[in-house]
Symmetry: C2
Subunit: 203 residues, 2 copies
DNA sequence: GTCTATAACATGATAGAC
DNA sequence: GTCTATCATGTTATAGAC
């Protein structure tokens, strides 16, 4: 078994377990078992648990921070652009449903520097600021209601992400089994789009 | 120092730390320090870490599962009722901002039985089913758009809870410092109400 | 009820043979 | 590169004095 393969298997196993149990809840032994190797190998490829965690975490952050830039980059009208974002973002999260809760949980009680080099102020942030301007301009032209842009943006994020974060809570409250929840998720994109579209109509 | 006082101090310290760091991330030593006693006392009052955790967790669950039944109980028109819920729920979460993320995180990867005696199907669930019926009836009377009730309910929950769960993410993305985020939260109730109100208007 | 001391075990990390 | 064996430390929990 050549080097890169083992290394890759470790990363994948670590990702799976870290995402579900978090840094504090994960045991190196469990990662080793899942990767089909032993603990010593983990420390051979990655010096420490923290280093392995940082690798997994950094990848997860990239997935949760809107890298859905394609949807936001074009010059569509604002309504279509926001709807396109919802579709692209929900689609992406569906492929990695554990990422949002993992990132948010690990982000809590950690200094900013841990997950972001302070040099670059971040591409997603800049793209968002540009979007905020577009929203304001569209509002000035009377194309959408004048919600404060930050609230509008949080609303869109909330509608898109929340079901994946709060799955156990939702299933309990609405008495859905796993199959019912899967159906719910399949409908989700269309339903969020419709709800948002309605909220963006001019009074 | 009489018994109930020490016991209470332990519970409060445990709550504070469990809520922020979760079960796996919490050390009994830290709880003892926060309560101003030593570890042995924790085991004197509560047999084990798990038992202490279950106590804290059960209390938190009661706070996150809509105990805002007053807002849902009356016979207001459906729009007013939903808006009243939003106001009551956000207000309650603001008093315990760490509860939602804590409950959701600990709920993940735990069997249902852990947090809910299977006998009683749960007051919140029944109240919600009743609300679902009210929504359907209001839709049949053409008072609000015919969003599937489950999606509408999740949307309302998402708009209300998400900012508290995703605070670090939001602050990073929107470049808010703590003061800016506090202001954001103060505006939140009104903004969610407005957004929801708009989404509930008849086309 | 409260403390100190310590047992019993789990866990991250390393040494060294192959 | 991979393994076994082991160290060093941390953590839950208990024993026993006061």
């Amino acid at each position: 078994m050549d080097k890169s393969d083992t290394r890759q298997r470790i990363i994948e196993a670590a990702r799976r377990i870290f995402l579900q149990k978090g840094m504090a809840g994960t045991r190196m032994q469990e990662i080793a078992d899942a990767a089909g190797i032993n603990k010593a190998m983990l420390h051979y490829y990655f010096r420490s648990k923290e280093q392995l965690f940082k690798l997994v975490f950094a990848e997860a952050v990239k997935e949760i921070f809107p890298k859905v830039e394609k949807a936001l980059a074009g010059d569509l009208p604002i309504r279509e652009k926001l709807l396109a974002f919802v579709r692209a973002y929900i689609s992406q999260i569906r492929e990695h449903p554990f990422v949002p809760l993992f990132v948010i949980h690990e982000l809590s009680n950690r200094p900013t520097e841990f997950f972001m080099e302070p040099e670059k102020s971040g591409a997603p942030q800049k793209m968002l600021q540009k979007l905020m301007q577009e929203i304001i301009h569209a509002q000035q032209r009377g194309e959408i209601p004048d919600y404060p842009p930050q609230h509008l943006w949080v609303n869109i994020l909330a509608l898109s992400i929340f079901p994946f974060i709060a799955r156990p809570l939702i299933q309990q409250l609405l008495q859905m089994d796993d199959k019912a929840f899967e159906r719910f998720l399949e409908e989700r994109t269309a339903q969020v789009a419709r709800f948002l579209d309605q909220a963006l109509r001019i009074a």
